[in-house]
């Protein structure tokens, strides 16, 4: 473990560099937009930026958690839309909506458990396992619910509060994102389980050889990631009163990956944390807000985001070069 500690320490410095690059780009964009765009630098717009990235950021916290353990979870958007749509669907049978939401969360957790078992026990590479499971989850939901868009029952007080309530002037959606991020940060940095996630991500074979319970760790990771995805879905339900399951077909899952990689969590695992996710989220938030104000078309927005993702991957490859150890233990 002493050796791994040294390597972890060395990577801390590198991680800071990538983070700093992203922070620097964010600051430059922020200054340029503030100087050139009317009403960009207003309290309302800053809150709008945060509110608009709360769903993306929450999803990215879950994805970041998985990527730290050298996995990837492409089921997140499917779990989000199907879990929440399931809650709405069963609430139409006369079940209390809050109870229905609990049932939706249980379903999400069950999907996470299944994904975790497929990855950890059946040892299917995470990218293929989650790709296939995402498709199955969405497909099953699509057959059951018939409609793409499902609306929550009106007059659910707590849901209205999630959508339009504030705490100390901060919208609830941002508060929930902040709470999920803070909890995850604490979990990763301050608990033994969190450290085990880093150890598993850094070198799964070494972790297993030294007797760490890597399989239960991986399974727990996917369960938590699914629950975080469900939480993001509840934020969305509060914000727009309904859930559009077609989001599964959108580029959202790639935006989530963009945030994670951009923030500096290397796909080779074992490094980075929630701070990277927040940095990445803020950059994407500023960029999207600026592009919306500038009236960029949807296609141009996606193009710009893709170029930035490619750039981030290139920077990742330079800052975290593949060494003998990483090439032997393999990537996701």
């Amino acid at each position: 473990m002493a050796g791994s500690g040294k390597s972890d320490g060395a990577r801390m410095g590198i991680k800071m560099s990538q983070e700093l690059v992203v922070v620097a780009i964010s600051v430059i964009l922020f200054v340029v937009f503030s100087a050139t765009l009317n009403n960009f630098l207003t309290q309302g717009n800053i809150i709008a930026i945060l509110k608009n990235v709360s769903i993306l950021g929450t999803l990215a916290v879950g994805m970041g958690f998985i990527v730290v353990g050298r996995g990837i979870d492409l089921t997140m958007v499917a779990v989000m839309v199907v879990g929440v749509a399931f809650s709405i669907w069963i609430s139409t049978w006369g079940i209390d909506f809050t109870l229905a939401v609990v049932c939706g969360a249980l379903l999400a957790a069950a999907i996470g458990l299944f994904t975790g078992i497929m990855v950890a026990v059946a040892e299917i590479p995470p990218i293929f396992a989650t790709l296939a499971i995402a498709s199955s989850v969405y497909g099953s939901g699509r057959i059951v619910f018939a409609s793409d868009v499902l609306y929550a029952p009106s007059n659910i007080a707590w849901l209205k509060f999630v959508g339009s309530g504030t705490i100390l002037g901060i919208p609830m959606s941002v508060v929930i994102f902040g709470a999920v991020a803070a909890l995850m940060g604490f979990f990763l940095r301050k608990t033994r389980f969190g450290r085990l996630v880093y150890a598993t991500g850094d070198n799964p074979n070494a972790a297993r050889t030294t007797g760490l319970p890597t399989r239960p760790i991986i399974v727990t990771q996917y369960v938590l990631s699914a629950l975080i995805a469900f939480t993001a879905g509840i934020i969305m339900l509060g914000l727009v009163t309904g859930i559009d399951t077609r989001l599964y077909n959108s580029s959202l899952i790639y935006d989530v990956l963009l945030v994670v990689v951009l923030g500096g969590i290397g796909l080779s695992g074992g490094q980075g944390g929630v701070r990277n996710v927040i940095v990445g989220t803020i950059l994407v938030g500023i960029l999207t807000n600026g592009m919306t104000i500038l009236n960029f078309s949807y296609t141009s927005q996606n193009l710009i985001k893709s170029v930035i993702l490619l750039g981030a991957l290139a920077i990742d490859a330079i800052i975290n070069p593949r060494d003998e150890q990483t090439s032997q233990s393999g990537d996701i």
Binding site: L37, N38, N39, T42, G44, N45, A48, K51, N52, I55, R142, F145, A146, S147, D148, V149, Y151, S154, G163, S164, M236, L239, V240, T241, G242, D244, T245, R246, L247, N249, S250, T288, N289, T292, I293, N295, F296, S297, Y298, T299
Partner: protein
């Protein structure tokens, strides 16, 4: 007595003869053209390729067409690509290979199926396009007059935002998929109104891609830039609820008028009642489906007519729905259509 008997006999005989005559008449009097009509539809094969069956308009179309198919004995297969254009292309290729009597298609955009539609007609298959047109014109189109829809929606905003009490002349156009026929044609109608009302300012023109969350995000950002925004127009009620949510969160429901269009399902009416939307130009998809059903019959009745030799267009009715009339047939539920 004998005379009475004879009279009775004669009367009964006359009655019997009349009855026989009546029966004979009933057997011979079929509604003109009914038998060949039934014959021409029976056993025919129709394939429908939608954009996605998860949309309210698609569900209502299919309910109506399935009823029509069951009554007249033709088959209707739905090949749902579920919003995936590549799957749609494969579905089209598969349908052409099967050589049905008719393909009904809802185009995701003007180009994707353009060549395939030509191929289908070259292979002798008739093609009916619904609501979303392709660059290729086929045997028939049943759906919206989208240029008129653009005129109606922006016209509604022009009424609200150019008057003496208007908070500003600022309006927003939340598009759907920019390459879709509905967007392209609506834009023509919008531009006509903007030209006629030069004081109107189109401050944002962004595609929400039919997604409510995207519509919410755009609206939230635009409201920060233009706190005195007057109106928003969109293209699908299920997407524009996101814009409504952003306006409601900003506490500007009295200031910003939100106009959109929709299939006329009950969820749209609920959104009006909840104050998320102000006006929906309702194209009543069940009525649209009935028009298309008659067009299906028409196309199946003329197997000898060469595919693509005649081209027809039917625009369905559009009803302006607001708080005053968001009831009854302006707000259908799928179960009630079945």
């Amino acid at each position: 007595m004998k005379l009475f008997k004879n009279c009775l006999f004669a009367g009964l005989t006359a009655l019997a003869l009349l009855s026989v005559a009546n029966v004979t008449t009933a057997q011979e009097t079929d509604q003109v053209g009914r038998a060949p009509y039934l014959e021409s539809l029976k056993g025919k094969k129709v394939i429908f390729i939608p954009i996605s069956q998860g949309m309210d308009l698609n569900q209502s179309w299919v309910v109506v067409w399935q009823r029509h198919a069951a009554r007249y004995g033709f088959s209707l297969d739905v090949r749902d690509p579920n919003g995936d254009t590549n799957a749609g292309i494969r579905a089209m290729q598969g349908a052409i290979a099967e050589k049905p009597d008719l393909i009904i298609v809802q185009n995701p955009d003007v180009q994707t199926y353009a060549r395939l539609l030509k191929q289908a007609q070259a292979a002798g298959i008739k093609v009916l396009q619904v609501n979303m047109q392709s660059a290729t014109q086929t045997d028939s189109y049943v759906g919206n007059d989208w240029i008129e829809m653009g005129r109606l929606e922006m016209g509604e905003l022009a009424k609200h935002c150019t008057g003496p009490n208007a908070v500003s002349h600022k309006v927003v156009w939340l598009a759907g998929v920019q390459t879709g026929a509905a967007n392209i044609y609506m834009r023509t109608g919008i531009d006509e109104v903007l030209k006629a009302n030069p004081e109107l300012q189109l401050v944002s023109d962004q595609p929400a891609d039919y997604m409510s969350e995207k519509a919410r995000q755009i609206t939230e950002t635009v409201l920060q830039q233009h706190p005195d925004l007057c109106g928003i127009m969109g293209i699908w009620d299920n997407a524009e609820v996101g814009a409504g949510a952003a306006v409601a969160a900003a506490g500007k429901q009295d200031q910003v008028t939100i106009v959109t269009n929709g299939a006329g399902s009950a969820t749209g009416c609920e959104s009006i009642k909840n104050g998320l939307l102000d006006v929906i130009f309702n194209f009543n998809s069940p009525i649209q489906a009935e028009i298309a059903a008659q067009q299906i019959s028409e196309l199946l009745q003329h197997p000898d007519r060469q595919a693509g030799s005649e081209k027809t267009i039917f625009f369905g009715p559009i009803t302006r729905v607001d708080k005053t009339n968001a009831t009854g047939r302006n707000c259908w539920k799928l179960d009630e259509l079945k």
